[in-house]
Amino acid sequence: MITLNHYLVLSALLFAIGTAGVFLRRNLITVLLSIEIMLNAVNLTFVAAGRQFAAVDGQIIVFFVMTVAAAEAAVGLALIIALFRHRESLNPDAFTSLKW
C-alpha cells in the first residue's frame, strides 16, 4: 500500500541528495545539476500532495516550477560559459576573489 508518506520520504531523500551535491561538488555544472535534482524533489511533493487532496493545483504549480527551472538553467549555463571564458576553470573556488 503506497501512502503519501512514501512519496514524502522519497522526495526528502532526493532533496538531501541534491543538497549534498550543491555543497560537496567542485564543478559548476554538477552544482547546477544538483539544483535541478532539488527542484524535481519539490515537484514530486507537489504532485503527491495534489493527488492526496484531490486538487489540480499541485500539477499547475509543477508546471510553473518547470518553467522557472528552464529559465534558470538557461541563464545559469550562460553564466557558466561567460565565467569559463575568463578563467578556463569550472571550479567555484577559482572565483572566490572579487578581482579578476
Partner: protein, 177 residues
C-alpha cells in the same frame, strides 16, 4: 505484491540511484545522462500518481530540453573530469574540524531519517485518496484552472522566459575586444 507497489519501488529506486550517481560521479557527461534517467524515473512516478500530463511535460521540458542544454554546454566547453586527488586537497570543507563536524551531522541526519520513517509507518496513514481516473488529472481540468485562476502567473512566466532568453544571449555573447 500489488503491481502499484512494485512499480513504485522500481521507479523510486531508479530515481534515487540515478540521482545519487549524478552527485557522486566524476565524469560530467555521465552525470547529465544519469540525471536524464532519474527524470525518466520521476515521470514514471507521476504516471503512478495519476498525473500523465505532468509526466509527459517532465519528459518534454526537463529531459528533452533542459538536459539537452546542459549536454551542449558540457560538450562545447569540454568540461574536464574532476580530479579526485585535487578534490581532496583543495576542497574548502576539507579541514579536520569540518570533517568531524560533518560526520556528526551525518549520523544525526541518519538517526532522524530512520526515526521519521519508523514513526510514520506504524501509524494509520491514509492511502493516496482514490480519484476517478482522469478527473483530477485530465488535461482539460489543468488547462481550465491554469488559464483562469492562474492566468496572471502564466503571463508573468512568459515574461520571465523572455527575460531569461535575452539574458542568456547577452551573457554568452563574445565581447568585441
Amino acid at each position: 505484491m500489488a503491481l502499484d507497489t512494485v512499480l513504485f519501488y522500481a521507479f523510486a529506486g531508479i530515481t534515487v540511484l540515478a540521482a545519487l550517481f549524478v552527485v557522486v560521479q566524476r565524469n560530467p557527461v555521465y552525470s547529465v545522462v544519469l540525471l536524464i534517467a532519474s527524470f525518466g524515473g520521476l515521470a514514471g512516478l507521476y504516471v503512478l500518481l495519476d498525473a500523465p500530463f505532468t509526466a509527459v511535460t517532465q519528459i518534454i521540458v526537463y529531459a528533452g530540453a533542459i538536459m539537452v542544454l546542459f549536454l551542449f554546454t558540457v560538450m562545447l566547453l569540454n568540461v574536464p573530469r574532476e580530479d579526485a586527488s585535487e578534490f581532496d586537497r583543495a576542497h574548502p570543507l576539507n579541514r579536520p574540524g569540518a570533517r568531524r563536524f560533518g560526520a556528526v551531522l551525518v549520523v544525526l541526519f541518519l538517526i532522524e531519517a530512520v526515526w521519521a520513517v519508523w514513526h510514520v509507518s506504524g501509524r494509520e496513514t491514509a492511502a493516496l485518496r482514490a480519484t476517478d481516473p482522469g478527473s483530477v488529472a485530465s488535461v482539460r481540468e489543468i488547462g481550465k484552472v491554469l488559464f483562469t485562476d492562474y492566468a496572471f502567473a502564466f503571463e508573468v512566466t512568459s515574461l520571465l522566459i523572455l527575460a531569461a532568453m535575452v539574458g542568456a544571449v547577452v551573457l554568452a555573447r563574445h565581447r568585441a575586444e
